[in-house]
């Protein structure tokens, strides 16, 4: 039955955990607060160890909180992370996305730094600073980092943060076999700037109900026996896993089913496993390749989404090409699934109309199947905890909601 304006605007008859105010996806002040209370407090993946395979390799990355980062592998083969920022007058040190350099030299006035973050040269140091400031005072800003969960470079810009293992909790057990049996190696990378909120992308990654959107998923997963018998599992900090789906590739193009035989060390060839980590990381393990999503939110309605595809270190060229072919046929920029996901969240953003569109966004499905929206509710519970705000009533405009 069509509804009147008042009916359309009124809150749904569901608990406030089961819907959110649209402004959590559009409001600038909430976004600034997320930067401070979430992005600069949580652990995030910035790249993979195989992106800096050799001594002196570096990779320029962006942290989700907005900082420019420089991931550097030293002569000792240890990976360290610094702000990509010169302590002199703030120029970025590395401009190229990646490279190899024994010394990291700022182009502006040629101050130089080693791969441990020490300043090793201030041009005309004595003449300019006499003894008031020296190289030891102007090292790079080190960022806490750990290499974990398949060789990923995790960082946290909060010096007082909890260890990564505590942040991840037992969510990491889910992919332990796939991530620790053989070392991974990056095959491909691409990114997209999408005019939408980062949470909408992550909601979609968590939400298996949206598999209806994808022809590929309808054919390979949704009709399989046991598809609906699977459940979500909640972990600390809003992380979530779902029981793997058993996919069959017989109904899609020739060759796709054959590539499954390549499998994945420590995993089963036909299992598709999803691990979603609060607030932006997704592990998408669908042999013969692994996909990792990370994000850099640029504003409440602008987000960089980064995609990385992995094979196994030491793969032959032929095997690598087959893994890449399979990965990209689903998830590359010309893939069959990824553009569909993007068109859906861009459509959501159009509908949100900068917070003046949809009066609320529903996450209210409750069922013991992968079509429950409990996975998104779990996310917003963590968001609310960190922000100190109800996602259904972020500005405390509905006293009844705040009290619930």
């Amino acid at each position: 039955m069509p509804r009147t304006g008042t009916q359309w605007e009124s809150r749904p008859n569901l608990p406030p955990t089961h819907y959110v105010d649209p402004r959590v996806y559009t409001d600038q002040s909430l976004f600034e607060e997320e930067r401070e209370k979430i992005f600069d407090k949580v652990w995030a993946i910035v790249c993979h160890e195989s992106e800096v395979p050799n001594a002196y390799d570096y990779r320029r990355c962006q942290h989700m909180g907005g900082k420019e980062l420089l991931v550097v592998r030293g002569k000792d083969m240890k990976i360290r992370v610094f702000y990509n920022q010169c302590p002199h007058r703030g120029n970025v040190i590395a401009f190229e996305p990646s490279g190899n350099a024994k010394r990291l030299t700022c182009i502006f006035h040629l101050w130089s730094f080693d791969t441990k973050g020490n300043c090793v040269e201030i041009t005309r140091e004595k003449e300019g600073f006499q003894d008031r400031l020296s190289k030891k005072d102007v090292g790079l800003r080190a960022v806490k980092s750990e290499i974990d969960m398949g060789g990923f470079v995790w960082v946290n810009v909060d010096d007082d943060c909890e260890p990564l293992s505590e942040f991840l909790g037992d969510s990491i057990d889910f992919l332990q076999g796939e991530l620790s049996t053989a070392p991974l190696e990056i095959m491909c990378y691409h990114k997209t700037i999408v005019p939408t909120n980062y949470k909408l992308w992550h909601d979609t990654n968590r939400d298996l109900y949206h598999e209806f959107l994808h022809r590929q998923n309808r054919l390979i997963a949704m009709g399989q026996p046991g598809y609906l018998d699977r459940q979500y599992h909640m972990h600390v900090h809003g992380h979530v896993t779902a029981d793997p789906s058993v996919n069959s590739y017989k109904n899609i193009e020739k060759g796709t089913d054959i590539r499954r035989e390549m499998g994945w060390p420590g995993g089963e060839a036909n299992l598709h496993k999803l691990l979603n980590l609060f607030p932006t990381v997704t592990y998408n393990m669908r042999p013969p390749a692994l996909r990792i999503d990370t994000m850099v939110p640029l504003g409440p309605e602008e987000t960089i989404v980064e995609f990385r595809g992995y094979g196994i270190k030491g793969d032959s060229d032929e095997v690598r090409r087959e893994r890449m072919r399979d990965y990209n046929s689903f998830w590359g920029p010309f893939g069959r699934n990824l553009p569909e996901d993007f068109i859906a969240i861009v459509g959501q953003s159009i509908g949100l109309n900068h917070g003046r569109g949809s009066p609320y966004i529903l996450h209210g499905r409750e069922e013991e199947t992968p079509h429950s929206e409990v996975c998104i509710r779990h996310y917003f519970a963590e968001w609310s905890r960190m922000m100190g705000r109800s996602a259904a009533d972020p500005f405390n405009e509905m006293p009844a909601v705040a009290a619930e």
């Binding site: 990779r59 190229e96 990378y189 691409h190 997209t192 022809r215 020739k254 920029p333 010309f334 553009p339």
Partner: protein
């Protein structure tokens, strides 16, 4: 000095004049062949764009040789290596194109696509059965709502054209992309 000048000039004009009848005949003959052959090659490349612009996938496939190989590649400065984003033989391409309309895509819902092409160079193999063609490509999106046009991608085609039985057909195509960020949603439709 003047003598030298005359001396050099004279034999050159003499030799050109002597060779003229043979050369003219040869040039005329080859020009006609080249013209027809080059026209066939240029038209083939252009038609691959026009058919794809029109989502006329069957006609596109008709232009492709049975051993057709298609890739979309790019260089990633992030990884300092090449990436292959689409990798199909003729069968794979046919399966993809057959089901594209069953997918949700920006290019069916919001946008139309237009390929702009400049053929740069055509080189023929020694036995003239293959042509290697390099072309510049720009792909534009035009919004259905309001008609604004935006550049989606800058790329090059590296094509091999088979010239067999008086017919040109596309034997292989590498779409080499400069642009790696492809609009807001990527592209279900190959370039």
């Amino acid at each position: 000095m003047a003598t030298t000048k005359t001396a050099t000039k004279k034999p050159r004009s003499k030799s050109a004049a002597a060779a003229k009848p043979t050369l003219k005949k040869k040039v005329e003959f080859r020009f006609e062949t080249l013209f027809e052959r080059e026209k066939a090659v240029r038209e083939l490349i252009a038609r691959t764009c026009l058919t794809m612009d029109a989502y006329d996938f069957n006609s596109y496939l008709d232009l492709c040789h049975e051993d057709f190989q298609y890739t979309i590649t790019t260089y990633s400065p992030e990884l300092r290596k090449d990436i292959i984003w689409l990798d199909h033989d003729k069968m794979g391409m046919k399966t993809l194109l057959d089901v594209l309309p069953l997918h949700a895509s920006d290019h069916f819902l919001r946008l139309t696509m237009s390929r702009h092409l400049s053929v740069y160079t055509i080189d023929y193999s020694a036995n003239d059965t293959r042509a290697s063609v390099v072309s510049g490509l720009q792909v534009f999106n035009t919004a259905k709502d309001g008609g604004v046009t935006e550049l989606l991608s800058v790329a090059k085609y590296f094509d091999t054209v088979a010239l067999e039985g008086g017919k040109a057909s596309l034997l292989s195509r590498e779409v080499r992309l400069d642009t790696r960020m492809l609009g807001e949603t990527g592209s279900l439709i190959p370039f």
